[in-house]
Symmetry: C2
Subunit: 553 residues, 2 copies
């Protein structure tokens, strides 16, 4: 490799900026040029909703780097408001248009990195071109929304789309005192979660004043005075002074397609694990590329900031002869939803079902730290694992505190190819303010291990509806007081502490389906009953999980 | 294995109680008896300091299980105030004395589990038998301290010993408005940390009003009116109305020794990875046993609640024919120190030095979440790794937030035998309130990987004192403003953004030792200089680490 190489990078946010600065650290003499379509490079797009809500007070705090700072510190040339129009792969040149002056220029490259990102999906709905309909992807989008809010006394806003950005936008608009409708076509928010795990978020959004419309598909927007009337499929109209469209993103692939680069089956740019496209002089990174999900082994489109940054680094390494390889994206993500956090890593149950992969799962609801220490908050945790090997396939967690930690420990374990049996043994930091001697992650290991060893026989909440009273008896082993506050239909109540003494009340010709509050006492009861010769199973995650599953129906 | 087995368990707290309940879940018919010397079983000893401080308000919240609850739910018989006096290994019996009545009884066992725990070390100092000298290990200890505090208007307390319990006791006594002296013979608190990592804690303890006496060895206690005068070696007297002795614990091995069971080189009971002692019918678990530290491969005495619980479970599994194995203890721990958390996992630098194992290390001071999101708190993080393989050997972290998460992710990675190169690739949950696109753990991977690949050439703070101005030039690449607020002696200042333009000011016949605030800009400068032909190294962790190391000298 020559030390005077010319590196051109299309796109200057997460992946592009990471590639550029890494390239400079690897070569002081290379020419490094970033071509950025927008007016800003390296801004914190994950922070946009929070400046909208005033949580991040200083707008400029979002500008992680500027063209000037990249020049001063890294001797990187940045062309902003500059669009790459065409790539001549034979000549190794990029035609770049100055979007202000209209002037074209040709840049020569030895290596080209495509980091164009993804763009907000705009469905072919009438009315989306109205001036008070926005997306929230760039600094300019955010500036436009804030100017609109300030200029027109926005009282009601509608967010279309309940993914990460939609939920964050809804929370932050509400934080400004705006009445917010959140309109989601699916039956749940946050697609990486399974429906029952999203259901506590629905209740929480509503408790926080969000007018949540699930299973509601916007079919048209129309001007209505100064505001907008959003017509929903199947009837209903939502009125708003401001609409944020956040139904998802799609990879920006136009330039790559025009250059004849291979596109993957997900519609994103195809790259190998060196982040190289079908042209060996052209790399692609970030939200525009297709990745492999190592959990499923399948191609996936998972636009996330962390992977984008690491991919940029890998492309720069490769260009300068370091054989870094990308290991794929398991999709670790987290979203703040008012006082709750919702995190996920690996594959969801719905994804595994869709691809027909066998799995088992478990639910638990442990405290985020020792129960006897003040302010313990319960985490609802779902872990999915391979039925044969116990390999961890995915995890989802919702709770007020400690969600990020458990998701990260499980994500690190998935990356290491670990099983639920390994989770039993993890030695995690324990003092009462931080965790429990048996951390929730250890508990996952204990419970899942017991399931796979056949010691813990379980049934899941979605199977409860199909129980047949002639063959199954539902047994609540909680206290009488707990039972009085709410119970499953057709269940009898024998508190666990009385069970040995009242064993004669149980039928031997029916299966006993045990449940308690979260699954722990139910497990003790199931072990007792199984050893006494009963056919007994325990409801995974107990009444708490059943409530979540009911709400998701 | 018979289903009517008789299991006797000596000690009913963490390890013993876990063994008992697991045994019951595995066998409904076994006879399970716990023999507990004290009046309580299964109490939360990690919570004792926090009830002392009133943080945990309800005393009984610490009683996780009672003899009654263990009987009702698990059909476990608990003998409290009962001491196991002798084991007859041939007859498989234990002689048990009722400490209230003095009556002896003989229990027969098929399997015996020793879980006697550890006891507070009481050095042979004069005056430790005074009525206002306490240890803090049991409910009774705690009750005694609280009664004393209430009864005698304690204004000044002295805690002797700066380990976990000593520091927690000091914080909690201070929380009751008591003036606290914390007396520690070593030059640092919290032995699992290396001295420079403990130094911010020293400052923080003092900021919170603790009279911290380091390198101060108590040589005698003497009554002084209603109080106590503690004489320190080398002069000085500390006066207190109450003394808590917390200089450490040692394994309770008397019973095991009398029974002729093998004791390990650390002085704790020797067990194999099935938690079996030298007698195959006798298991031992918890704070009384010697473990292997898989990081060093050496025997160790690491009394911690998490391992005790898991060991108890394993002993029960083994008794009932399940081949569970203990994987050793890496020593993951954490301690709240007022507003800071201090965590550690794996081996410390001082331990590796002592055993002569080669290692490299890196320091960093990243924010606990994205810097542009409000209230980002910096974490001081030290990671130690194998120079050849990059295997992670240990980590230590101190900070206000997010310490537990990073220690847990690294602990999980150590358990999986991962290297620092693997940390580069970890995909952790990122949204601005929870982390950064490049999480601190990723940053460890990037930095340590760069060091091992020879790209990042570093020097450590403890080497700075030995620099020779004739051969080394100290270069501060921070801004002029940062430099004006404090700098290392004999350093010149060229801000990183001016460095390319002022390169002529640097000598080519001396080594350039670069530093910045935390090591990041210094790394960029070192890369630049190295590629320009200079002999350049960067101070790992920058000025922040140097300050910590200076304070620890």
């Amino acid at each position: 490799m020559s030390e005077k190489r010319k590196i051109v990078i299309i796109g200057g946010v997460a992946g592009g900026a990471s590639a550029a600065t890494r390239a400079r650290r690897l070569s002081e003499t290379a020419s490094i040029v970033i071509v950025e379509k927008g007016p800003y490079v390296s801004f914190a797009n994950c922070g946009l909703p929070y400046h909208l809500g005033g949580v991040i007070q200083e707008r400029d705090a979002l500008l992680v780097q500027t063209p000037q700072s990249l020049k001063e510190r890294f001797n990187i040339d940045v062309l902003v408001n500059a669009e790459a129009i065409a790539i001549d792969r034979n000549a190794r040149t990029v035609l770049v248009r100055n979007l202000i002056t209209g002037a074209d220029d040709t840049l020569t490259y030895d290596a080209l990195i495509l980091a164009p990102g993804a763009e907000a999906v705009r469905p072919p709905l009438p009315g989306l071109d109205l001036p008070n309909v926005f997306t929230l992807q760039t600094m300019s989008d955010m500036d436009g929304i804030i100017a609109h809010v300030r200029g027109t006394r926005v009282k009601r806003a509608a967010v279309i789309g309940g993914g990460f950005i939609g939920v964050e936008a809804a929370e932050n608009l509400a934080g400004r005192g705006i009445a917010v409708s959140l309109i989601e076509a699916d039956r749940q928010v946050l697609p990486p979660l399974d429906p029952e795990m999203a259901s506590p978020l629905h209740a929480h959004l509503r408790e926080n004043g969000i007018d949540l419309r699930l299973g509601a598909k916007a079919s048209a927007c129309a001007a209505d005075g100064d505001g907008i009337a959003i017509t929903l499929d199947g009837g209903g109209i939502v009125s708003a002074d401001l609409v944020i469209l956040a139904i998802g993103v799609r990879p920006r692939t136009d330039l790559a397609k025009r250059a004849g680069l291979e596109i993957g089956e997900t519609g994103a740019i195809k790259v190998d694990d060196a982040m190289r496209t079908s042209d060996s002089a052209i790399y692609a990174v970030g939200d525009a590329v297709e990745v492999t999900n190592p959990v499923t082994g399948l191609p996936a489109f998972i636009p996330l900031a962390g992977p984008a940054n690491r991919q940029g680094r890998i492309a720069a390494d490769q260009i300068f002869g370091r054989d870094s390889r990308y290991r794929g994206t398991i999709g670790t993500s987290i979203c703040k939803v008012f006082s709750l956090a919702a995190g996920a890593t690996g594959a969801s149950e719905k994804l595994l079902r869709r691809i027909g992969r066998p799995y088992q799962k478990t639910y638990l609801h442990p405290g985020h730290h020792a129960g006897y220490y003040p302010d313990a908050e319960s985490i609802s945790l779902k872990v999915i694992f391979d039925t044969a090997s116990g390999a961890i396939l995915g995890a989802q967690a919702v709770g007020a505190k400690g969600v990020d930690k458990r998701i990260d420990v499980i994500a690190a374990s998935i990356a290491a190819g670990r099983t639920v049996f390994d989770l039993e043994h993890l030695e995690l930091a324990y003092a009462p303010p931080y965790g429990s001697a048996k951390d929730p992650v250890n508990m996952v290991g204990f419970i899942a291990g017991n399931i796979l060893r056949g010691e813990h026989r379980i049934i899941h909440a979605e199977e409860i509806g199909a129980l047949d009273p002639a063959r199954d008896m539902l047994l609540d082993v909680r206290t009488v007081e707990e039972n009085a506050e709410g119970r499953m239909p057709n269940s009898i109540n024998i508190p666990i502490n009385e069970l040995r003494g009242r064993i004669g009340e149980l039928p031997r010709d029916r299966r006993i389906v045990v449940y308690c509050a979260v699954g722990q006492r139910g497990y003790v009861a199931q072990r007792m009953l199984t050893q006494m010769g009963f056919d007994a199973v325990n409801l995974s995650g107990g009444y708490a999980t059943w409530i979540m599953a009911q709400a998701a129906r």
